[in-house]
Amino acid sequence: MRSLSIFKKTGILAVALFGVVALLTSALAAYMLHDRMVAEYVSKGTAIAQSIAGASQEILLNRDSATVQAMIDQYLEIEGVAYVFVRDGDRTVVSHTFVPEMPPRLATLAEPEDGVRVTQVTVESLGRVIDVGVPVLAGVAGHVHVGMSKELIKRYFWATVVRMQALLFATLLACVGILFVVTRRISRPLQQLTEYADRLASRDFSADIELTSRDEVGHLGRTMRSMARELARLFSDMESEVEKATGELREHMVYLSAIIDNLADGLLVISPAGAVSVVNPAMREFFGLGDKDYSGFAAADVFPVEVADLARAIRSCEGVIQSAEIPLPQGRTGMAVGSSILVADPVARCLGGVVLVRDITREKALDQLKTDFISTVSHELRTPMTSILGFARLIGKKLDTAVLPALDENPEASRMAAQVADNVEIIVTEARRLTDLINDVLDIAKMEAGEIVWHDRAVFMGEVMHQAADATRGLWSAKGIEVVIHAEADLPPVRGDHARLVQVLVNLISNAVKFASRGPVTCRAHLDRAQVLVSVADHGPGIPESSMGEIFDKFKQVGDTLTEKPAGTGLGLPICRQIVERHGGRIWVESEMGEGSVFFFSIPALVPRTDTQDMDAACRAVLPEPDSAMLVRLSEDRNLPPLILVVDDDPILGAYFTELFEGNGFRVMVAADGEQAVVMARDHLPGLITMDLMMPGMDGRTAIRCLRHNPFTRHIPVLVLSALSESATPGCDVALTKPVDDGRLVEVVRALLLRKDVRHSCLVLGGLEDVTVEGLTVVCPDDTTFCPPQQIWSHVERGFRGLVLIPAELAEKIDIDLLARAPGVTVIIMPARSGWEKTI
């Protein structure tokens, strides 16, 4: 096919070219032939005419026409001569070769005056004729005319053209034939190559090609053949590679699916849309799903709500790892842990989530066993300890109160009794140590068992440190070692269990005191990269580096256990570590032998919430708008004892607290609900507020929020007294759980009232003449400073915190916005002087 098409194309081209060339050459040849023959005929005619003219001069003069006739008849025999006639000087035809007579057209021919005259004439019987007229004796004797037939030329001409065309056509045929053969010879290997390439294209690498030619096609064929071999090799390599890879992949898949199928834990994979994609046999068994294919089902349609909720939480990769305890059939318990499937490569995308369910029935049972064990041990150890400690104390007491006075008379018996009293004291001390040990062991066992209920809320480390120092006062004051506390001002709170954090610091401080040879023990707290870092430094013997890692392990103490008597249970630091780590923190020690040790722990700081300036609707209802003027409404004797505002809806408790606080030398006011509390706090500016949380009307939390919104009550310490202490109360300073130990309550109240950081400082712009001091002393009982407007910034730079009171007429001189942004600074613009005076 292909060869024909090549032949067709080349053939048409050849024929066309050949045709044009043939036509052009034959036309040129015919033209040249025609031209040549005409010229030849003209010269031939001329020669004949002149020869006749030369020979007939005399004859003509002699009028011998018969001789002329005989002569011209001879010339008629010459090829191409059509006619001959001779005229005499009078233009009369003397003789001619026409039969029977001369055509009239020729008779009219003009005679040449001199020389030869050639004229083209068309004669009826002869066709086109070239007439050559020659004068005889310059026309005097007459003229000779010879007619040369042009028709003959025409015949020659056409015969030549026809023969030439025939020859050319024959040549063309021959050429086409040769072309056909040649193209066939060229195209055959091409066709073979094409077929070969086709087979290669259809990946038939067994195909081969016979190539003998040494030309370009042969070269191409050989190149193709080697290419094909290369391709075949590549293909087979690739195929074996693919086969190998597929095999490996299959094996890997089998391996993975075997792992998934043999997992003891139930596995569920969820697509980002929430559809089930993989469920392993364990999971099927847990939920009795049988063998049905659940792919594509919504998780909620297949699994219980707990699993479905978990799946929903993790499938979009937005949350973190989630876990939930879920009930399994037959009263078993499962622990479901869900995590998102995030792929980072090549582009980060979420593939859904995976939920693992483990049957924790046994673990739960073991856990319960452990709890029960702790509970039992706790009971079994505590009961005899109670008797031992209690009776020892009773004995001691009775010795002191009854026996010793009675033995006054008998020195020997009294000495003995004193010794008995000492011995009993030893029993008490040792029993206490044993109790501490039991408590510590139980504490750490409970922590490890997760038995501890943590009461998380915002905890201020400064407060924790003070409480811990107070709790260990007996220890350090007895040893004559001072405990110094440096808490950075404005330290952000941490989220945690207040009591447990106090426990950590009590442990660290008592350790420090125990080992210190001289004071002071220094506790510091400061903010370090979003962590509240607390340190307790002592001047003790130090800890060898080899032991530093161990001291936080259970029952490890520094020193030689054979020669040095352990000074505690060895559980204090492990408990500290448990507590700190539970708060997301870290505990460590740095020490230099002979110099002392520093214990550090860090706990993530709570990110301070931005304090929205707008009050709650509830607050606004109680306190319309902060009225600057009201701050000087009161004028009281600053020497009065501190005022405590008790907020409790239970009148009996209110009365009880009133009695308690008044008995301790405080003044007391009682508010029955939050709303009343906020108004009374504003009007009377107590030194401290005790707040119940559960109250009708405005509850304690809202009340605290309102108090914190009002610049005048913001600084007042709030002590939350509630039966519910589990949940944190934002804004409160200390929370105590009811029932509260009276002694402790009074202690905390005193601590809060004396706390330096809650003291309210005031800075008044302008001089004494601008404001009335009497009222201010109520708002700022501790510290009022007057300063000219230009000095305010130096105060702020030195770290002033508190109220800045600016008389309205001075307000324009200060950049109040900038001032209000300074940490711990509250700006109050006081009304113009007239209004100011009116309120007093």
């Binding site: 709890t371 702790i374 509970s375 706790s378 009971h379 079994e380 150890l381 505590r382 009961t383 005899p384 300890m385 109670t386 008797s387 031992i388 400690l389 209690g390 009776f391 104390r393 009773l394 007491k397 029993a431 109790t435 408590n439 139980l442 409970k446 038995e451 501890i452 209920v453 039966a723 029932p739 009276d742």
Partner: protein, 126 residues
């Protein structure tokens, strides 16, 4: 009228300890001390005598402290009875449960006799 304190504990020694500790109050104030050895006995006494203060152990035969506490708190006629739970169980859940039932206090063993005295005085308003 004499204030009545009831001690309910199945442990003889603890009962004795509490009794001896509280004897001091008996000497100084108009206080009477009573004891019971199990929950049933204790409850029967509370019902008949309306004591002002009850030191109630939790783990006891027959009727445990929680149950006694619940019955007393639910009984309107026993409103003035203050209960202090006294137990060796120091678990957080126990404490919570006890307070939820309406006990005034939850004291863990071993306790300090002085504290017992102080708490008793506070509770009885002495």
């Amino acid at each position: 009228m004499a204030k009545k304190i009831l001690i309910v504990d199945d442990e003889v020694h603890i009962k004795m300890l509490l009794e001896q500790t509280l004897e001091e109050l008996e000497d100084e104030y108009d206080v009477e001390l009573f004891t019971a050895s199990d929950g049933e006995e204790g409850l029967a006494f509370i019902r008949s005598e309306h004591p002002d203060l009850v030191f109630l152990d939790i783990m006891m035969p027959k009727l445990n402290g929680y149950e006694v506490c619940r019955v007393v708190m639910e009984d309107q006629s026993l409103q003035g009875v203050k209960i202090i739970l006294l137990t060796a169980k120091g678990q957080e859940v126990d404490r919570k449960q006890g307070l939820e039932l309406g006990a005034r206090m939850y004291m863990t063993k071993p306790f300090d006799p002085d504290e017992i005295l102080k708490v008793s005085k506070d509770m009885l308003g002495l």
